[in-house]
């Protein structure tokens, strides 16, 4: 908990710097955090059994909303992600980040004996439906995170190693086939993803500028509010997806390592909660939430430092944005609930 708050505090400071000393941004993020904390506290007081009860309705509700987006969604920047409910706009794909692991955890918890191949097939189907809908929007970043969260549940539920390795080998073998089936522009897109210098005016621009920002940060960084790349207009999306570049430039390698340690502590705590959890549902859910958090952090830092392709994934607890903050802390709320209610479950 302390780690969480400290990380968010760091996030606020770096947001102030990244937004060009914009208090409005920071205070609006403060509101986001406040709302998210309330949500976390509420969820932490719900018993895991009750969570288990709402897993199915939440999943079905989420899928219906996603279909709604597919049919009536608002288009912005060429993608349909938002559903306009009149009063407010929501992004149903965010709901699925929690609903999917809950659903899968519920599904495996129901199977008392060791899950069989058919169970895994059903689970895969439950995962593919929302991922497909989100990928179609198109929102590859979120689709990736949802599939990661689902995969973690399936993996932790005991998907056989043979199947895992076999799947990996088959996918690898089929790659050239897919490649030959793709359109030229699709191939080009993937090539640019792998080598951003091919398109320095488009996607590659972000990576080039972010690498310079990070690299020039050095050991100890340029100091808060002193990042030249960040303060001038060179860095794109610097309050959201690329905020880590600002952080790395201003606080240097030392800052990065501290951030990594903070993240590691949070992840370690989450894993411990998962191990100690007494019901299958809690265990699977806790593991998945923790590891999805890790995926967020790794994919974001990896893309900013140029070892992973650019996909729209924010840096957890730090990037500006209300919805993702709420979803994240909702996840942590569930972890807390699992932690505080473990004895109850054990005795009950």
């Amino acid at each position: 908990m302390g780690c969480l708050l400290f990380t968010m505090l760091v996030g606020l400071f770096i947001l102030y710097s990244a937004s060009g000393h914009n208090f409005e941004r920071v205070s609006s993020q403060l509101i986001n955090i406040a709302v998210a904390l309330v949500v976390m506290w509420l969820v932490a007081n719900i018993q895991p059994q009750q969570l288990e009860g709402i897993a199915v309705p939440a999943y079905i509700f989420g899928v219906i909303l996603l279909i709604g987006v597919f049919l009536f969604g608002d288009v912005s920047h060429g993608a349909k992600r938002w559903l306009n409910l009149g009063i407010t706009k929501i992004q149903p794909s965010e709901i699925m980040r929690i609903a999917v692991p809950m659903m899968l955890a519920w599904f495996f918890a129901k199977r008392e004996s060791s899950p069989r191949i058919t169970d895994f097939s059903v689970a895969a189907l439950l995962l593919i439906i929302p991922v497909g809908l989100v990928a179609k929007q198109p929102d590859l970043g979120t689709a990736l995170l949802i599939s990661a969260s689902g995969f973690f549940v399936i993996f932790l539920a005991g998907l056989s190693w043979r199947f895992l390795i076999g799947g990996a080998v088959i996918t690898g073998a089929l790659m050239p086939v897919f490649w030959s089936m793709m359109h030229d522009y699709q191939r080009k897109r993937i090539e640019i993803m792998l080598d951003p210098s091919q398109d320095p005016l488009g996607a590659g621009y972000h990576t080039i500028q972010a690498t310079i920002a990070l690299g020039s940060g050095g050991m100890t960084g340029k100091g808060w509010l002193n990042g030249t790349q960040a303060q001038l207009d060179f860095l794109p999306e610097r309050t959201t997806d690329f905020i880590f570049a600002v952080f790395g430039e201003e606080f240097g390698m030392a800052g990065n390592l501290i951030l990594l340690v903070l993240f590691s502590l949070i992840i370690a705590r989450g894993l411990v909660i998962a191990v100690q959890a007494k019901s299958t549902f809690s265990r699977l859910l806790a593991g998945s939430i923790t590891l999805t958090f890790f995926t967020y952090a790794f994919v974001n830092m990896g893309m900013v430092s140029g070892i992973l392709p650019v996909v729209g994934v924010p840096l957890p607890l730090i990037s500006y944005g209300g919805t993702s903050m709420v979803t994240l802390l909702l996840g942590f709320g569930i972890l807390m609930s699992i932690q505080t209610h473990k004895k109850l479950v054990a005795s009950g």
């Binding site: 920047h77 060429g78 008392e112 004996s113 060791s114 973690f152 993996f155 932790l156 005991g158 522009y185 897109r189 398109d199 320095p200 005016l201 488009g202 996607a203 621009y205 080039i208 500028q209 690498t211 310079i212 920002a213 990070l214 690299g215 020039s216 940060g217 050095g218 050991m219 030249t228 790349q229 001038l232 207009d233 060179f234 790395g248 430039e249 240097g252 390698m253 990065n256 390592l257 990594l260 993240f263 590691s264 992840i267 370690a268 894993l271 998962a274 191990v275 299958t280 265990r283 593991g287 590891l291 890790f294 790794f298 830092m301 990896g302 430092s305 140029g306 070892i307």
Partner: protein
């Protein structure tokens, strides 16, 4: 109540879970170690390199805009090209007091209020650090004057930019189209098409005509330079660069001389002409009158010019060949005729005796012929020649609307021709199902009767009518019409021809085609409705005249051009192909409110054919405009020059 087997399973499961969690925990460690290595590489090992890039100089990616491809006609006459002009540009973020600076600059070179307005508009739309043109088209003196004083204005620069220019001005402007500034809508389209990054340095994009439809070919690939810039934003050193690739050059099938002759022949009249080479589908002339000067649009059209173009009653901005819809009138008869012949119901020696009107069985309503008293004995060939309405009323009725429309649809009526400029509309070929959908009313047999002579609901675009004529001339082989015949690749210099596409081969009886052809040839011979058009031509012309009413007449009213406002007069139509025996050109002409097809539209067609077939230039004459009829009061709105649908069952006049 757990059995021991399940309990064991449960422990087993928990053990398994711990193991798997351990594996994932290890992956977390590995992943974070990878990141740490990467941070070490970037921030410690390569620190000096990035430090230099970021601290002393800043890196900037400068797009290099490619040259837009040229457009030229079939003989190499340039229709659209680029030339360099001096522009005076300002980067607002580098100037402290913008207004004062602009005022100072205005003392050196003239800055008009229009320039200022445009500058302010672009400043709102652009990013902070981009440079924005304040004045364009500086002449040599102005450029020199500013260059000397350049040191006084940090943040202001003299640049030379490429501007699009249409050297022939108004000629063929609907076909060539124009480019204009990229707006938000364009950006969204480019983004959706995944090509936005290729437009980083571009200000302009094709907005209409060839410029729009061949944007992908013409634009080229944007190059870029990775440069170090100093604190003033000036490039110090180029780190890497990739040259842009110019857009491809387009060669059109149009002959600009022919185009000019056609446009001149219209004089002050409004209307459209499309000429096609039947054997290939090449468009030889594409006329929409009146035209406008596309150069006005390149740098953002000024308010007054836009208003006068947009509000003009003559509607110069409408692309009439593709978007003007007109009732085909009697130019539809050759196609009805062929429908009747192919169905086997009007084969020679079939003939009728025309006493001036047609009646349906059990009805007293007279469908009148244009000639009071009638034409007497009429067979198919003569029916075409003299444009006998009575003959075609009966033909249509016996054929029925389904058979008629199903047949003529093969000639492209009621559908887009597929010509390679965007914006075409499909016209209308009515069917009973269409009428039920549109008006919730059943189809009346009387509507079939008048459909036979091209009246009623049927609407065509000039492009369609020309295409139908070309298909007829080409013995039923429908070539897809196209304007671009060759594309020169800017990179390799290789010229590749665009594909000739056969849309359809309509199986037609050669004998039936011959009857229609002979009837159409007779049209331009003495005794035909356009005898004067064929006089002394030196080659045979197969043609058909047509007239389309703009205002419906009452059953017993007589049409009198002199008593009708000029804009309510009939549209004149004319289709033709020549030489009739071996057609090299097929065309359709529509003169809005021109009166009779033979006298108003025919001479225009003749001039075009004379030049194309014989290279004969028209005699110089004073263009004859429509006689000015008593102009109504300026406040009374005049009916726009758009075609008005003919009320069914009305008399028409040919």
């Amino acid at each position: 109540m757990k059995s021991s087997r399940e309990l064991k399973n449960y422990q087993n499961e928990q053990h398994n879970f711990k193991l798997r969690l351990g594996v994932l925990g290890l992956s977390v460690l590995i992943a974070f170690s990878l990141l740490t290595i990467r941070f070490y590489y970037l921030q410690i090992k390569r620190y000096d390199y990035y430090q230099t890039l970021a601290e002393n100089n800043r890196i900037s990616i400068v797009p290099i805009t490619p040259n837009r491809g040229l457009i030229s006609d079939r003989n190499g006459v340039v229709l659209a090209h680029n030339f360099f002009v001096y522009t005076l540009e300002i980067t607002p973020s580098k100037i402290e007091n913008l207004d004062a600076t602009i005022a100072e600059i205005a003392k050196l070179v003239e800055v008009s209020p229009t320039d200022l307005k445009r500058f302010n508009k672009q400043m709102v739309e652009s990013h902070n650090f981009e440079s924005i043109p304040l004045r364009t088209h500086l002449n040599e003196t102005e450029a020199a004057k500013f260059a000397v004083n350049r040191y006084r204005f940090p943040g202001a620069e003299l640049k030379s930019r490429l501007f699009r220019h249409y050297p022939l001005g108004k000629l063929g402007s609907h076909m060539v189209g124009y480019i204009g500034r990229i707006n938000d809508n364009d950006i969204e389209n480019l983004d959706n098409a995944d090509v936005l990054s290729n437009y980083k340095g571009s200000d302009h994009i094709g907005k209409s005509g060839i410029e729009q439809s061949y944007e992908e070919q013409l634009h080229g690939t944007t190059g870029f330079q990775q440069v170090e810039i100093d604190a003033d934003g000036r490039a110090v050193r180029v780190l890497s660069s990739q040259a842009p690739t110019s857009g491809n050059n387009l060669i059109l099938s149009v002959d600009s001389k022919l185009q000019e002759i056609a446009e001149t022949a219209f004089g002050e009249h409004r209307g459209a002409l499309v000429a096609i080479k039947p054997s290939t589908g090449e468009v030889l002339a594409f006329v929409s009158m009146p035209t406008f000067d596309p150069n006005l649009f390149v740098d953002g059209i000024d308010f007054d010019s836009w208003n006068s173009l947009n509000n003009s009653l003559d509607k110069p901005l409408i692309n009439r060949p593709l978007r003007g819809i007109y009732p085909p009138g009697s130019t539809f008869k050759p196609f009805s005729a062929l429908a009747g012949l192919e169905a086997g119901i009007r084969k020679p020696p079939f003939s009728i005796y025309d006493n001036g009107y047609f009646t349906l069985p059990n009805s007293t309503h007279h469908y009148r012929d244009w000639k009071p008293g009638g034409h007497g004995n009429v067979d198919m060939r003569r029916a075409i020649t003299i444009s006998c309405d009575t003959f075609f009323y009966g033909l249509a009725m016996e054929l029925g609307i389904e058979r008629l429309t199903n047949f003529v649809r093969h000639f492209g009526f009621g559908q887009k021709s597929g010509v390679d400029i965007a914006g075409e509309i499909p016209g209308l070929l009515p069917t009973p199902e269409w009428k039920m959908r549109r008006y919730k009313q059943p189809w009346y047999i009387g509507e079939t009767v008048i459909a036979g002579i091209g009246q009623g609901y049927t609407l065509v675009t000039p492009m369609q009518l020309a295409q139908a004529t070309a298909i007829l001339a080409n013995n039923g082989v429908a070539m897809r019409p196209r304007l671009v015949t060759a594309i020169t690749d800017a990179k390799t210099g290789a010229t590749s021809l665009t594909k000739e596409i056969v849309n359809e081969k309509i199986p037609l009886d050669e004998k039936n085609l011959e009857i229609v052809r002979l009837g159409m040839i007779d049209v331009t011979l003495p005794g035909g409705t356009a005898a004067s058009v064929g006089a002394n031509a030196g080659y045979n012309i197969a043609a058909k005249t047509g007239t389309a009413q703009v205002v419906g007449l009452k059953q017993n009213e007589k049409y009198n051009a002199d008593l009708i406002d000029e804009r309510h007069r009939d549209h004149a139509l004319f289709i033709a192909y020549a030489p009739a025996e071996e057609p090299k050109i097929a065309l359709a002409v529509i003169v809005e409110n021109g009166g009779h097809g033979g006298s108003a539209a025919g001479p225009i067609a003749r001039k075009v054919m004379d030049y194309y077939l014989l290279r004969k230039l028209p005699e110089i004459e004073v263009p004859k405009g429509p006689e000015k009829v008593t102009k109504p009061n300026a406040n009374t709105p005049i009916a726009p020059a758009k075609p008005i649908k003919i009320a069914p069952e009305e008399e028409h006049y040919d």
